[in-house]
Each structure stands twice: as structure tokens, then as C-alpha cells.
């Protein structure tokens, strides 16, 4: 896979900044085929502590700027892969930041201090990752140098989090003992932990294969924009532009146009580089069809045989992000779902979800800032959707305050797979 999006979160002083600094810094060294490896190494040894400190300080200073809704995006790459890192502070006050960063992430990178073991924050990061549909978790047990690189410090943490991740139904998880400060198992395999059989962090991230669940996913294409050149050359051209939310499509394929349900055939698919015979998830394309149907932004082209749900009642998990308001039954909001905007009323706040534990809920009258709950919404017009667990693109939405236009909520249609019966 071309881009890997990582969400990191860590408690203060677990070493997250140091680790990120090292990833950013050391990954550049991998690109250098201009220098011979000996020279690379000595340059790294001499300048590295200074540069690492610089980067670390910079990252800390940003954190000290106070509680905001920010997510810091950092970029690094190796010849094998480009990485986008969404970094947020780990404290519960930053839950909405973590939700934001996790929304596009493929992998959650959780840092644990080897001396402290699994703390509440580590659990919360795992729970939020699971809620947001992250399917891969990498746990770095850091500061191994302060526990003599002993296996006894690492295994209990691995066992503890392994149990949690299984409960959260995150199948792909991996644990690496590291020292961000000294570099053990970050880019290069540590020779001080012979009991650890697997490789270091960066190669693991380079080779991580994202499960290709998308292979058989049903085709979903929210129509973003209708391209009508109306020029002499393209007089009758009418193309539906958008990004494929899931699945794939081929020329000649029968598709359904939602919400009407009418069917038609795909006649052309244009990629940014010209016509193609098929296209898949995350590709931005323009689709033309055989029939002259009334399709505009907000419509959804889908597989004819496996259609999405069309309904004006939704059961969804919502993270409230509004500072000056809370989510309550009866609240009227705007909802943006894929390319469709409508109004939504909160029918019922079923419960608040405790994000420090799995499957714990409590009744509540309102969702305040950073709280997550299960909500029933009624929309002014039917939405065409899938469960978030099957398709992030057609299962996610944002809630917008009608008077301030602020984004006040992030929603995922359906309920977390691991959440038991709600009640009591």
C-alpha cells in the first residue's frame, strides 16, 4: 500500500515525542544513497542527539500551547512507503483530537512506558482506535533501557493489552520493545534484547499489509460534482465526479443510483490520467452512465446487487466536540454524510459509552465535550448509508451547529461490534 496513515497518542513523558523525532529524523538517513553507510553512521552519531533534542523540544512546545482541537500532522518516508502521522496528546481532554486523528488512520501506534505498564490512557487509546475502525495496532513498549532490557518488563504489558485488543476485536496487533532515546528496535534491531524475535518498528510499519477487506466490499460512489463542459467538443458530456468510498467498479457494470434505486450501466470511467476500464477504493474518478437520469451531488452510485440502506432514522455512535453546547434529545443540527447535507434531530441519547473500558455504558441526559455515546437521529431526508464497520466512507458523518457552523459532532453509523447489550 502506498500511504500509511498512523495515529499516535501517548501519555505525557512516555517518550512519544522522542520516538516521533527519531522516526522523522532517522527515516531521512535511509534515503541517502549518496553517502556511503559508514559516513552516514558517523554523521548520525555526532549530530543525532542534538537534532533529536531540537525536534523533541519543538514537539513539546506545541503541546504546551494548551488545549485546542488540533491534530499535528507529520510526514516521513522511506523508499518503501510514505507515512502520515496524526499526533495528538493522550489526556482525556483531547479525546476529540484523538477521534479526529484516528478517523483517517490505518494503524494506531500506542506507546507504553515499560516502567509503568498499561495505564488508563493506553486503554483509552485502544478503545478509541477500535471505535474509529482502526484495524491495526502497534504497541511500543518504550524505555526498555530503564528496565535493563528485561523480557519480564515487556511480557506482562503484552499480555494485558493483547487481552484488551482481543476484546475490542482488533485482530492485527503487534508489540515491540523499544528504547526511543537510545534507538533500540526503532529503525535497527536491538542487540540488547536477544529474547525478542521480531524486527524493529520502522521495517514493521514499512511492511504492514493492510487487510484487503476492500477487495470484496460493495461498490459505493458518492457523487461529489457533476462535470458538464457544455463545450463544442464535449457537448453532451455529463460526468459524475467523486471518490470511490468502497469497492470497485468496471465499465459495463450494472449499478444502482441511490436514493431513487434506478439502475443503469457504467459506460466510461475516467481516472486523472485518462480512461480506464476499472477503478477501486479511494480513487478519484469521473463516471459516465448509459441512461439520462437526474443525478446530482448527494446521490450515491452503488452496486446493483448489494445496496446501501436508505433511511431517515440512524443508530450511531457519536463523539461530541462542541465546546459551548452539549448533545441532548431534541437538539436540531445539520448533518453532513458523504456528499449529502441535511438536517438531523437527536431522537434519543441511548447511553454514554465509557471509553476507558470496553462495553461499559451509562444512561445520560447529555453528551458533553469529548464524550462518546450511542444516539438515535432522525434526518430531514433519507440518508443512503452503510454501517461504519463495513465502510468508513458511507458510514461516517459530522454534525454541524446551525447557528455557529461549527463542527460539533463526529458520528459512526451502527454500533461498535464489541459493545454488548445497551441497558441497565
Amino acid at each position: 500500500m502506498e500511504l500509511l496513515r498512523i495515529a499516535t497518542a501517548g501519555s505525557v513523558d512516555d517518550g512519544k515525542s522522542t520516538l516521533i523525532g527519531r522516526l522523522l529524523f532517522d527515516s531521512k538517513a535511509i534515503y541517502d544513497d549518496v553517502l556511503d553507510s559508514a559516513e552516514q553512521h558517523s554523521r548520525r552519531q555526532s549530530s543525532e542527539y542534538f537534532n533529536l533534542a531540537l525536534l523533541t523540544d519543538g514537539l513539546k512546545a506545541e503541546r504546551e500551547q494548551g488545549i485546542t482541537i488540533d491534530v499535528a500532522y507529520r510526514y516521513f518516508s522511506t523508499p518503501k512507503r510514505k507515512f502520515i502521522l496524526a499526533d495528538t496528546p493522550g489526556h482525556v481532554q483531547y479525546t476529540r483530537n484523538m477521534v479526529t486523528g484516528a478517523s483517517t488512520a490505518d494503524v494506531a501506534l500506542i506507546i507504553v512506558d515499560a516502567r509503568h505498564g498499561v495505564v488508563e490512557q493506553s486503554r483509552r487509546h485502544a478503545v478509541i482506535g477500535a471505535l474509529l475502525g482502526i484495524r491495526h495496532v502497534v504497541v511500543c513498549v518504550n524505555k526498555m533501557d530503564l528496565v535493563d532490557f528485561k523480557e519480564e518488563a515487556f511480557r506482562p504489558i503484552q499480555d494485558d493489552l493483547h487481552a484488551l485488543l482481543e476484546e475490542l476485536e482488533i485482530e492485527s496487533h503487534h508489540f515491540i520493545p523499544i528504547s526511543a532515546l537510545e534507538g533500540d528496535n526503532v529503525v535497527e534491531k536491538s542487540d540488547r534484547m536477544p529474547w525478542y524475535e521480531d524486527g524493529p518498528l520502522l521495517p514493521h510499519l514499512e511492511n504492514l499489509e493492510l487487510s484487503d477487506l476492500t477487495q470484496d466490499a460493495p461498490f459505493r460512489f458518492p457523487v461529489q460534482y457533476v462535470i458538464r463542459p457544455l463545450s463544442n467538443q464535449y457537448h453532451d458530456y455529463r460526468g459524475y465526479a467523486g471518490t470511490i468510498a468502497s469497492g470497485s467498479v468496471e465499465v459495463g457494470q450494472e449499478i444502482a443510483v441511490m436514493p431513487s434505486g434506478a439502475t443503469t450501466t457504467v459506460t466510461h470511467i475516467e481516472s486523472p490520467d485518462g480512461e480506464v476500464t476499472s477503478a477501486g477504493e479511494a480513487e478519484a474518478v469521473t463516471i459516465r452512465i448509459a441512461d439520462n437520469l437526474d443525478i446530482s451531488r448527494g446521490a450515491l452510485l452503488s452496486s446493483a446487487s448489494e445496496r446501501p440502506t436508505s433511511d431517515n432514522t440512524l443508530d450511531a455512535t457519536v463523539c461530541w466536540m462542541g465546546e459551548r453546547s452539549s448533545l441532548r434529545s431534541g437538539a436540531m443540527l445539520r448533518i453532513k454524510h458523504a456528499t449529502h447535507t441535511a438536517r438531523a434531530m437527536v431522537n434519543e441519547l441511548q447511553c454514554k459509552i465509557d471509553i476507558n473500558h470496553v462495553s461499559v455504558t451509562e444512561a445520560s441526559e447529555e453528551l458533553k465535550l469529548n464524550e462518546i455515546g450511542q444516539v438515535t437521529l432522525r434526518t430531514s431526508e433519507p440518508l443512503v448509508f452503510d454501517q461504519y464497520a463495513s465502510s468508513r466512507g458511507t458510514g461516517s458523518f459530522i454534525l454541524i451547529d446551525e447557528s455557529t457552523n461549527e463542527t460539533v459532532g463526529a458520528g459512526m453509523i451502527g454500533r461498535p461490534p464489541y459493545l454488548g447489550e445497551i441497558g441497565s
Partner: protein, 310 residues
């Protein structure tokens, strides 16, 4: 560095660029769909050139339904102006020019009397006037998040009030690929479709797509003089002073901005591959130096501001 041969690394780079390209196209289409009057800030710099290239791809085969906007300091490399005008003509799109010299003349803005003051600062009021006059509600800018540490938290959609001011409280969380474009009266947005691109991505994309750049990006003979350790291009806007001697040197420029403050690099890199190779080496040696890091970062930031990133 030898000239690159197609190998699996190249294919990988290509697929990474394709992913970035798709994301940018998605953003551009969202803006065109939801805003009445977008405009695209175009400086002739490499980032704005890539951004324009992406916009064309996003909306083809229709013509761009919005103009390109150049905030002109008046101190342009003639090559950059030629490139700009030719681009607008070839694409059949409108070019809106917000002119700093005209604003100076009309008294709309005032030049600083400080020595060495550039017209950089004056671009902001001229941009705002242009936005107001033309009623732009969304303006595309070529800024990236990797440019400097402070930009790491920038959004793709940046909400501005009528003074172009950015209030941290008015910025919105950006989840999934859902962008909340609802604006309040008087607000406009700046959109940064290149947010997730790094400098290296930009150069590799230019190479892969064979995008033409203004000729000043490549090594060429030029009359220059040295000032403050930089090689300044001799022009009608900038003349040497006390004892500064004009000589001919082979140079290339990293940005296409105000000629009076843009320094050139002594270089033999005449092709895109050679320029990229030089940049790779420069990045390597930058890492080793300590003091130089600060200076380079500072200088680079200045460069980018000059390139028209507001």
C-alpha cells in the same frame, strides 16, 4: 546520483503520488461543488503550479470554472510573468492580478521606508482587497503542512474573517474526508489541497507528470551580484550598491518570488533530475550542521512566504 531507472521503488513512489493526487482532487472538487466563487492563488512557484495541474485534472474535460489569482509585487522575474500569462492562455482561464505597485500608487498601501524592506508584507492587504472586490468565497493556496513545524496543525480549510485573520477558535476538526464548508457572513476560506504533500512529493510529481516549470528553476547564466551571502539577480528592480560587483554566474532559483529578495544558488543543474539530486544532497548536509539548521529553516521559511503563501 545516477539518472533513475524505472524500478520497484519508482513504482512505489508513483502509487504514493497517486494517493496524494486523489486526495487533492477530492478536496478541489468539494470546494468547487460547495462554494460560489473560488479562486486559485498562483505565484508561478512550484507548489502553485502543481496545485493548478491538480485542479485541471479534477475538473477535466471542463475548463476550470474559476480564475487564477496572482498577487503581483511588481518585482517579477520576466520568465515567471511569461509563464503565468502563457499558462492562463493555454488553459483558457481568467487571470486576476492584484497589483502591489498599483496599490502603492493609489495610496491603498504604503511602502515601508525601512532599508531592505520588501513588498512581501504588502501582498496581504492587496490579497484581501482582491478577495473583497471579486467576492471570492474560497481561495486555493499551495501551502503544505511539512513546510515548517508551526504548520503541522493547519487545517485543509482555513476560515478567515474579512480581515483575512485566522482565529484559532474558528477552526474546525477535519474528520475522514468530510469538510464542513458552511461559512458565516463575512467569512471566506483558504483551502490547502497540498496539505499532506511534502517538498519531495512535489518534486517527484513534477518529474513524473513532466510538468513545465519557469526556466529560472534550472541552472542558467545570469548577471548577479553578491549581497548578504546571497547571489541576487541584477535587474531594473535591484541594483548593486557600494562596491558590489556584477558578474555572470550559472545559477538557479528555488522560488519564483520578488526578485529583490530572492537569492539564487550557484548550480549546474539544468534538468529536473539534476535539480532533485542537488536538493537531496543539500538535505543530507543540512542535517549535520547545527547553527546552519536554524538559518536554513529561517531562510527557507522566508522563501516560501515570498512564493506567495499567505
Amino acid at each position: 546520483m545516477n539518472s533513475p531507472e524505472p524500478n520497484s521503488n519508482d513504482l512505489l513512489t508513483s502509487s504514493q503520488l497517486k494517493a496524494l493526487e486523489a486526495e487533492s482532487i477530492h478536496i478541489i472538487r468539494e470546494v468547487v461543488a460547495e462554494f460560489e466563487k473560488p479562486g486559485l492563488l498562483f505565484s508561478g512557484g512550484k507548489d502553485s503550479i502543481v496545485m493548478l495541474h491538480l485542479a485541471v485534472k479534477a475538473l477535466q474535460p471542463a475548463k476550470l470554472p474559476f480564475p487564477i489569482v496572482h498577487i503581483d509585487t511588481g518585482h517579477n522575474f520576466p520568465e515567471a510573468i511569461e509563464y503565468r500569462d502563457r499558462t492562463a492562455k493555454n488553459l483558457g482561464i481568467d487571470l486576476v492580478v492584484g497589483s502591489v505597485p498599483e496599490a502603492l500608487e493609489s495610496g491603498r498601501v504604503q511602502a515601508s521606508t525601512l532599508p531592505g524592506a520588501s513588498r512581501n508584507r504588502l501582498q496581504t492587504p492587496v490579497l484581501l482587497d482582491t478577495i473583497r472586490d471579486r467576492k471570492f468565497d474560497a481561495v486555493f493556496g499551495g501551502a503544505r503542512r511539512d513546510e515548517e513545524r508551526a504548520r503541522a496543525k493547519e487545517r485543509v480549510y482555513s476560515f478567515r474573517d474579512e480581515f483575512g485573520q485566522w482565529d484559532p477558535k474558528n477552526q474546525r476538526p477535519e474528520l475522514w474526508n468530510l469538510y464542513n464548508g458552511f461559512t458565516n457572513t463575512g467569512q471566506h476560506i483558504r483551502v490547502f489541497p497540498l496539505s499532506n504533500w511534502t517538498e519531495l512529493d512535489i518534486w517527484q510529481y513534477i518529474l513524473e507528470e513532466n510538468i513545465e516549470l519557469p526556466s529560472i528553476y534550472f541552472a542558467h547564466e545570469r548577471e548577479v551580484f553578491e549581497r548578504d551571502g546571497m547571489l541576487m539577480a541584477y535587474s531594473e528592480f535591484l541594483k548593486p550598491e557600494n562596491g558590489e560587483k556584477v558578474f555572470t554566474e550559472k545559477v538557479r532559483f528555488r522560488t519564483v518570488g520578488d526578485m529583490t529578495i530572492t537569492g539564487g544558488l550557484k548550480s549546474d543543474a539544468e534538468t529536473l533530475e539534476q535539480v532533485i539530486a542537488e536538493i537531496a544532497v543539500a538535505r543530507v548536509s543540512e542535517r549535520g550542521a547545527s547553527r546552519a539548521d536554524d538559518r536554513t529553516a529561517e531562510a527557507a521559511m522566508e522563501d516560501r512566504k515570498r512564493e506567495g503563501y499567505f
